[in-house]
Symmetry: C2
Subunit: 543 residues, 2 copies
Amino acid sequence: MNKRKFWGWGFADQILSKEEEAGVENRIAQNFGLSEIDALPIPIAEEIDLNKPRVQIPDTLKDILSDDHLERLNHAYGKSFPDVARAMLGQFPNPPDLIAFPKNQEDVVNALDWADKNNIAVIPYGGGSSVCGGVETDVDDSYSGVISLDLRNLNQVLEIDKESRAARIQAGIFGPALEEELKKSNLTLRHFPQSFEHSTLGGWIATRSGGHFATLYTHIDDFVESTTMVTPTGVIESRRLPGSGAGPSPDRMVIGSEGILGVITEAWMRLQERPNFRASCPVLFDDYDKALKATRLISQSALFPANCRLLDANEALFNGAGDGSKHLLILSFESADHEMDFWLKRALEIASDVGGEYELPQEQKADAHKSGASGTWRNSFIRAPYYREASVRRGIIQDTFETSITWDKGYDFIETLKEKASKAIKEISGKESTVTCRLTHTYPDGLAPYFSYTAYATPSTMIDVWKEIKLATNEICIQEGGTVTHHHAVGRDHRVKGYDLQRPEGFKDMLVSAKEGVDPRSIMNPGVLIDPKGKKYKHWMED
Amino acid sequence: MNKRKFWGWGFADQILSKEEEAGVENRIAQNFGLSEIDALPIPIAEEIDLNKPRVQIPDTLKDILSDDHLERLNHAYGKSFPDVARAMLGQFPNPPDLIAFPKNQEDVVNALDWADKNNIAVIPYGGGSSVCGGVETDVDDSYSGVISLDLRNLNQVLEIDKESRAARIQAGIFGPALEEELKKSNLTLRHFPQSFEHSTLGGWIATRSGGHFATLYTHIDDFVESTTMVTPTGVIESRRLPGSGAGPSPDRMVIGSEGILGVITEAWMRLQERPNFRASCPVLFDDYDKALKATRLISQSALFPANCRLLDANEALFNGAGDGSKHLLILSFESADHEMDFWLKRALEIASDVGGEYELPQEQKADAHKSGASGTWRNSFIRAPYYREASVRRGIIQDTFETSITWDKGYDFIETLKEKASKAIKEISGKESTVTCRLTHTYPDGLAPYFSYTAYATPSTMIDVWKEIKLATNEICIQEGGTVTHHHAVGRDHRVKGYDLQRPEGFKDMLVSAKEGVDPRSIMNPGVLIDPKGKKYKHWMED
């Protein structure tokens, strides 16, 4: 099996070429006016000391529990900037004592039983691609230990119902394996988060992941037909229903629960037929307010483009999809049932009416989304995590934050967030930074802007600098009326100055109580989303 | 103000004409081979004795609490068959002691404070159109009293955000008043449940009401942008967001909560522009399985018809929209942005490919949905509740049950439900009954069938007969894998042999705990959905 990097994104052999690495270094030097840049070495697993596991492997669970050194490193962190930074620096003060690799749902039940009886915290782990501290094994001293529970062996498509276009799928399956299996039936989940290659179905559901479709089916939420979750007090299995009005939706309590209620083991998922018909066209705008207006009108037209991503001029420039003078709206439609030319034509009319410029391709190619400006952007999007590693080694912070807001506030909100974030980054890091924006998803009533920045720091300051910037961006999103996350989840990093203020206090009371109902000893992912009853989790960002 | 009937549907002056009344009597006589039929008189409010209120009106709440005789009658029941039957028979053993008519959210807070301190159960009341015992004031003896809390004075559209197509609306507004107000801005909620005229926004949200759109936006759920709910321990107000991935959705806990967590006082709702473009056409099928297949393929095509209702031959016949030989699929599309001819054309192609017959109208008229077979069915749909009253007076039960199921089980499920329900009705009532079916809503992964029946009973047996049939239909829906309700809500009547078995036990634990978190003394709508912690509500159906 290809080994995953414990210090970065993807597999150990997925690294930048020397030329790419030099390119990154050059860009950093130019950007920040530096003549010399130190780069941290890639850490070596064997050279990192870990504390001894505080928990012994019981005989009954010896087939599924492991204290392997590399696995403990692998499961100590997710893949946020500070996760990669700490790993790169060889800092692993709170690794899991053990890792559980259940082979089936019964193993999960047994592992939770054992953990519950022994006061051991359990951190559910899918692909480990969390960028918000969702899988970190840093729990407070009231626990006698902590395990990471890795679902990788629950990786099968168990059943396909072609008539209903749905499948029963185990939670630990990774994106590519899932799609490969569904392809045999000409079906697809068509859920492609940036993490696709290194994240799992269960992780997507637990974190309300955002995917391929820019409109209509933006989150994984709407593809969930039913769920099975193992909690410390039993298994919760919802009924397979296309729609129901029987009380609050059980699935909606599971979706977004980020491991604090239990471990999602499988789900029936709604699928799509693989699209045969595509129509797409990039549209350029001189004015950002006109670009936003076009995006709004298209989002309200019920044409439901699959892609409706608006890149501001800088975002287009930094991703090689423009010269920095125009804003780029990537529009595309797809269907398994009918030609989409009419849909595209009408969307382009709307865009053109408010000043958008486009050249309709003579012929719509099946791989149009992979060529031209769309294609350039797409490649840049997929390669981004690898480029980030080269930056981390040099202490440079490349990070993003993302939110959503209603259209009435849209333009001012984006301008204010860019401005406030740039100002905060300059104050914290001492150097100028451009904050760029793209819309990842749009709705009839609003939009989801996604901001990227590069900030100056050094390997020794980068974690503290990042922490201050994260607190600032959490605060800015909340103060301006947005959400602290549209699809990156809350985890631990989005709580302070963020989710803790965003969620209604009474809803927190319900959530804390609901958790108590199924996890009375609070072993499940403590510190994520909420403090369990009677505990006050101290976040490392509050140090 | 036009007075509402305490013994039936709608306003006191909305009754059948003598001819219509005679028509109903004739049909009953024919149906069941009866030569003589007794009819109960319409009850007179003043002749009905009620127990004395057990609760005194405190001075601080004298402006909002009432012990008016007619209001106590009005708020004792919803509008289910046994509600109307009991009212018609003058049976009111458990009326509310008092009714609260708060004028604003602060009044709601004060009323709940007072009720909570004095151990008084609170039954939130919107339009009172519940058909499942959701607003009944029959609570157990552990409470010192019970009030019905009527939101009718919270009836304003408070704010309209045209850019985001959304409005902040008070929960007590009725359908017609809401649409009238929104029309001024060329907007509409386009949520038209059968109860539209006599139900409220808050009621729709609390019960996950099903509305106008047969696909895509089937329930009120998807139109909810944010909610405000007053609980006994405080106000829960969610943030206005077009989409979010920050933890389990607070709104999804409110939606469908049926008054057990608190009182919904207002919501930001997503609106539509009023449609200018319509295209519709009825399609006829000889074979039901082919009709179902066409409906499935259209539901999976992403064409999203606004109407996609499939009436079986008997359902069409009984509603005057057919001669009983063909199954009728009512297809219509609408848009505020573009012509829908292409959409209709493609849907008709799909239908035709599997044997559907249609005649495309020469010209699409703006009011096509109000004419022809569609129009006949529509009128019958709106008049149905009034016809039911004439039946109740004669002891005849006209009722419905509705559910949902995935497509793979679709055909067999419908046949089995019809067969089992017919058999049960015959066994219980002693006479044959035809159970008819229409699909009210459809999904890419399944369908929502809605069953109607007429059963023989007499004024003295009708309540017991209904009760047995209701228990049987609850049980049939659950046994065959469906939901006990797709959009009529659970209330009290769908619990026994229904929701109590359907909801995952662990989810019930979470719900009970969540309720305890915001309603620690369990004053909110006890007996609906769940038994609050430490209480065992005895349902009247279990007598």
